[in-house]
Symmetry: C2
Subunit: 459 residues, 2 copies
Amino acid sequence: MELHLDLGAAGGASLRARLESALRETIRSGGLPAGVRLPPSRSLCEQLGVSRGVVTDAYAQLVAEGYLIARPGAGTTVADTGSPHRVAPPATPARAAVRHDLDPFVPALAAFPRTQWRATVGRVLRDAPDDRLGLPDGAGVPELRVALAAYLGRSRGVRTSWDEIVVTNGLRQGLTLLWAVLAAGGNRRVAVEQPGWRGVTETALDAGLEITPLTVDDDGLVVDRLAAHPEVGAVAVAPAHQYPTGAVLSPPRRAALLDWVRTRGGLVVEDDYDAEYRYDRDPIGALQGLAPEHVVYAGSASKSLAPGMRLGWLAVPRELVAPLADVQRRRGGMPASLHQLAMADLIERGGLDRHLRRQRRQYRRRRDALMVELARQLPELTVRGAAAGLFVVLRLPDHSDEAAVLAAARRAGRALEGGGGAPPARVIGYGNLPEAGGGRAVAALAASVRAVPPRIVRR
Amino acid sequence: MELHLDLGAAGGASLRARLESALRETIRSGGLPAGVRLPPSRSLCEQLGVSRGVVTDAYAQLVAEGYLIARPGAGTTVADTGSPHRVAPPATPARAAVRHDLDPFVPALAAFPRTQWRATVGRVLRDAPDDRLGLPDGAGVPELRVALAAYLGRSRGVRTSWDEIVVTNGLRQGLTLLWAVLAAGGNRRVAVEQPGWRGVTETALDAGLEITPLTVDDDGLVVDRLAAHPEVGAVAVAPAHQYPTGAVLSPPRRAALLDWVRTRGGLVVEDDYDAEYRYDRDPIGALQGLAPEHVVYAGSASKSLAPGMRLGWLAVPRELVAPLADVQRRRGGMPASLHQLAMADLIERGGLDRHLRRQRRQYRRRRDALMVELARQLPELTVRGAAAGLFVVLRLPDHSDEAAVLAAARRAGRALEGGGGAPPARVIGYGNLPEAGGGRAVAALAASVRAVPPRIVRR
């Protein structure tokens, strides 16, 4: 038998490596079917004009990998490696243009402090001891836990200590961990805001918990509904700026929620959503500060820096730290240690505070420009929610078909979200909407609102 | 009532912020019990010598946060915020010295390519489009998937395409995802190597799967035991360098495993553990290359760069990509996008290959030095396993009490692992053991081996 092998150009690879590769590819593509006996090494080496050792080494390698079978006295035959591999098309990823302009979950990506982050990573790579490159603790690297405890205390009124902080791979991952620990501890049912951020419900359901939806109105979560649900052990709430209603939990509701958790002995899970951004007054301090023994505080860098940062944190009652860190370790979910150290450096040097001050001004200008255009072009609709965060809520005319409006907007390429409640509403994010872009964006919105006739409500 | 408030030094904070903070802290510490009525704003402003607006604003803020209650006609009273918060000790993290010197899971942390990584991060921050700072795809950023598909094909013989790659937060996290998808697809039982890396078993059990342990001998997993377990749908195996035996899966076993998976229609999960490091010959290509439709290839940067990198990857049959990406997205487990982009840059520019070539030479020297010392100081014991990876396996005398030897070693501060099988053995990692340190390390080992008398075996 004569083999037709293309050994290709040298290109740095040894003769042996090229022979191996040629044989492997020929077998894979079906050019050498199973059971075929290869020429003895002494004849193949003559045929190819290479030394015999090159051929015997290549055969041995392919025997070890399972492409060939060597039997004493029977020579070397091709192994049965199944059907020839389909030749995959030369796939390359499409470079899709992602439009974030009205996405309520994305801060201004163009404002990400790239220069500062580069300097920060440089300092960490210069200064971090080698052991920080080992597997990080399940609760996070101590440097970041220390920085976060101080930062959250100072900026959000969170009462915590570094060893009550658990670093997570963003908020969703933090909730996933928390629900796993609560479920393992015998909790069965969590109350969530309705409408609310779907990440809370998805992660809780995935952890095997059951969901009790509670209404949200202009004062935030309607806490007194909890009385009718004695089986609820934990309540997830976004007091600072609720998505998608834009409501801020009112003082009486805050008090009622704390009453409930103290009486019931359960847990409040505070999603401190959008809390960095308040434009009309100082942000309201975290609920956690009033009852650190009963509240899990959850935050992230997704709105303050970028969702791609994948950094979040939980400030928890002390007894939850070890179980959370253990689940995190078992699942290997800790963010990269260099990444955690860089975040610690950014916070410690005041870089995050400076960035937030700059961004608050930018978002306020963007929000103001959007409000002017909404008043000018859609005067018949009212805007709900606090002057906070990265979105406004536009109340649609009664009996509007929210889904149809969204579909019309989607056809126009706009990343909108529905309000998901009653009355119909639409959420407009302005994190990535430059002031000058407000007019055109609202014109497109107005067109999609007016394209959809009011729905006929059947009673 | 007169309030004694320490407004502290200015230090940049406004009078109002200092008043708020002083009131908040006084309430938290129990200095102002629940129900106490605060002085009217007009008298407190006189007492403090500040404008009245400062006091009314501070009261309003604390009402919004829930520390105070304002009732029309009843003035402002302190809310019931529960018992005063225990004053946490001024906790600072202990800076524990971590000893990695004999840890089999940790590569040379001092050799991490810091300069190169810094340049890589700098390039990414300069060049990455803004949208790459948004939430990364659940399967990973395209740049890294493309780089990994080419790298794994070239270095490990993996047959894959960029869109069959799922980027994970390290190997454990990748397995956690995979088991979740398999369990959701109706799989119930996974066969694992016994002894083997506990990460495989832990993640599978956590996902609700059942475990069938299969023996490992000097030829790797004893594949024919699978015939007795028809209920097994997936087999996890480390063919390149099994932990903790050091065995390499033999060609007949590779063939038998592929036979099993093709006949059974199940899945082989190939943990390509330690595969970057082979000192006596070329590394053996991945099993996945022989049956890409039936094998999930799993790898990570933990041994090639550092465990703190938290980067791993799966090359999977195409139908598994979407479910894996979906679970990853729902749990928010994607590594940070900048981190993924930096890894892509390092691979594309050949930085990972260069690092691995350098490290192979270093580890080979370390292994050789360790072998010399073992032969000199512990000549009665044999070393098992291939000349590969980051550890050697020292076979202990028959009837040795492995646990007692480990305990003795632990008292000497050595990060050892037991072999976990029969015959008793001990795993010695040399990733962080400099050549000059081999003599002292083996002397300590010899002392702990000899400190423990052979165990009396009861029959």
